[in-house]
């Protein structure tokens, strides 16, 4: 589905096939909090947390809504008005915050893992079979916190199968200092020279965190990177690194962010060849 030339791209920008709206209000993030923030379960949708790992698609209640969802593979041609509303009142202070957004395809998710179990956890794992980006190349795993776990530092080791089909690969995440709170999203590093994840088989914590909480595994495909600020901007593809990522038909889009803020509102335009 390559675009033949610039005129083809221009045509897509002028005539998007899908215009989708994404809106969430989230609990104010902590300044400088290091994991990404997921808005998936936030207001106003207040989606029920998952249990069994389930593949997601554009029909999911959490996916952005608007015009017809793309039935073909697409590109992100424009993002309108993506913004957050940071805490604090001084615009100068607010503008100092990076407010970085990342559009992802949320491929599958699970829940039901415990912050207090230090043996290998396989509850609701392995992750559901990929229905998009099925090679696993460019697919990452993350631990998403549904209900806060405890404050005791711990290291989570995630065991996965890489895009080459090799099982037993591992990545580790450190939960330290800040209690992993609800909505935090921890991408899992790949083992050296791996290019992606096909499935996650288990998670083991080094130390009990002190609270059961509830966390799960998400497989996601990073699509595009959205620099944003409080004013809200219209960004075309020249300002969107990753605009040329293939958004596969049936994508379940979500916006993660890093920085402080309590609202995400944006329109994503997609167009397919």
């Amino acid at each position: 589905m390559a675009l033949a030339d610039f005129n083809a791209l221009r045509a897509l920008i002028l005539h998007p096939h899908s215009i989708l709206h994404y809106y969430r209000t989230v609990t104010t993030n902590v300044a400088g909090e290091f994991p990404l923030t997921s808005s998936w379960f936030a207001s106003p949708l207040n989606l029920a947390p998952p249990t069994t790992s389930v593949a997601l698609d554009g029909a999911n209640a959490g996916a952005p809504r608007g015009s017809a969802y793309p039935t073909n593979n697409s590109f992100i041609t424009k993002v309108n008005g993506i913004r957050t509303v940071p805490t604090g009142s001084a615009e100068a202070t607010n503008n100092a915050k990076s407010q970085t957004g990342l559009i992802i395809d949320r491929l599958n998710h699970s829940g039901g893992l415990s912050g207090n179990i230090i043996t290998s956890q396989t509850t609701n794992l392995p992750t559901a079979t990929l229905t998009r980006y099925t090679s696993g190349v460019g697919v990452y795993a993350a631990l998403h916190i549904i209900t806060s776990v405890g404050a005791t530092d711990s290291v989570a080791t995630v065991t996965y199968t890489n895009s080459a089909g090799t099982a037993g690969r591992t990545g580790t995440i450190v939960w330290a200092a800040n209690t992993p709170g609800a909505r935090t999203f921890y991408p899992v590093p790949l083992q050296a020279d791996d290019l992606g994840v096909k499935s996650v088989e288990s998670v083991v914590l080094s130390v009990a965190t002190g609270a059961v909480g509830n966390f799960g595994v998400v497989l996601f495909k990073p699509l595009a990177f959205i620099p944003m600020d409080i004013q809200g901007r219209v960004l075309d593809c020249t300002q969107i690194p990753g605009w040329n990522s293939t958004v596969e038909a049936g994508a379940c889009l979500e916006i993660l962010y890093a920085g402080t803020g309590n609202e995400i509102a944006c329109t994503i335009e997609l167009a397919s060849v």
Partner: protein, 280 residues
């Protein structure tokens, strides 16, 4: 290798035509090392090499080596195929709070060594041979502190061969060691060594010499780096290399891409971004 012809050729390749094989590389680094948060001091450059996140943490180097994309710590990427070259065409890097990290460096880590001694006043051998950045122009020398050296500030110089293959060049004397958290002494600090006047690059570093003992051996090393780009955090900071400063950057085969963060305050920040490549 033929240049990318025009904007249409670029668009075609970025969307997968003509074997463009686009690859968009996700970055998320957090300033923790094995569960312990790093400590920043305002105004200094900190290496993300050992930081948690994506890419995963690298290890403290020991003997001199040429790191590649296969090494833990390197950004995962695919080498260009079919005799093509891989080019960086677009990127964005942002810190979680711009004021805490107003500037970020992305670079190819061409060579590194660790295990050097902050008490030794002998010329400490670096050596090694570059396999990337072999045009030598633009290559930089950094001292990286892996474990703090002593609290007595000294100076350090490197003896190197420049881009024109002239040996025996010497970097400007640079502060090394001193009170913890100062310009010459902090774990994960990257200290650039200014080249001798008139030089524009580095072929090799033969040795580094401290004028006097800092008082503590610590563990420091030397890194030869080829800067890819500097990013400023906050706001609309997408870099378009097709028209912007620096032009498209060649990502050499087996490049070991890593990052460094400039501390704008004592509050550490994470780093998020994406690098977009295309093949020609």
């Amino acid at each position: 290798m033929a240049a990318i012809l025009n904007l249409s050729d670029l668009v075609n390749r970025m969307t997968g035509g003509n074997s463009g094989t686009p690859e968009n590389l996700f970055v998320h680094k957090i300033p923790y090392i094995a569960g312990t948060i790093d400590t920043w001091a305002t105004g200094f450059l900190y290496s993300c090499w050992k930081y948690d996140g994506i890419p995963g943490p690298g290890a403290t180097p020991t003997t001199v080596a040429v790191p590649t994309k296969a090494l833990a710590g390197a950004l995962p990427l695919t080498n260009a195929g079919g005799g093509r070259e891989k080019w960086l065409v677009q990127a964005c890097l942002n810190a979680s709070v711009a004021a805490d990290c107003p500037m970020i460096l992305a670079y190819d880590r061409l060579l590194h060594i660790g295990g050097l001694d902050g008490t030794s006043t002998s010329a400490q051998t670096v050596g090694g041979t570059l396999t990337r950045g072999t045009g030598y122009v633009g290559n930089m020398i950094f001292v990286e502190i892996y474990t703090a050296v002593g609290t007595t500030a000294r100076t350090i110089t490197a003896s190197y061969t420049n881009q024109a293959n002239t040996a025996g060049r010497t970097t400007a004397s640079t502060v090394f060691g001193g009170t913890a958290g100062t310009v010459g002494n902090d774990a994960n600090l990257m200290i650039p060594l200014p080249l001798q006047a008139g030089d524009t690059g580095v072929k090799s570093v033969e040795s580094v010499t401290i004028n006097l003992s800092t008082g503590t051996a610590g563990n420091f090393g030397v890194t030869i780096a080829r800067p890819i780009f500097w990013a400023t955090s906050g706001g609309m900071n997408t870099r378009d290399f097709t028209t912007g400063p620096g032009g498209m950057f060649l990502i050499e085969a087996d490049a070991c891409i890593s990052f460094a963060q400039f501390a704008g305050s004592v509050t550490e920040a994470s780093l998020v971004g994406m690098l977009c490549t295309v093949e020609n």
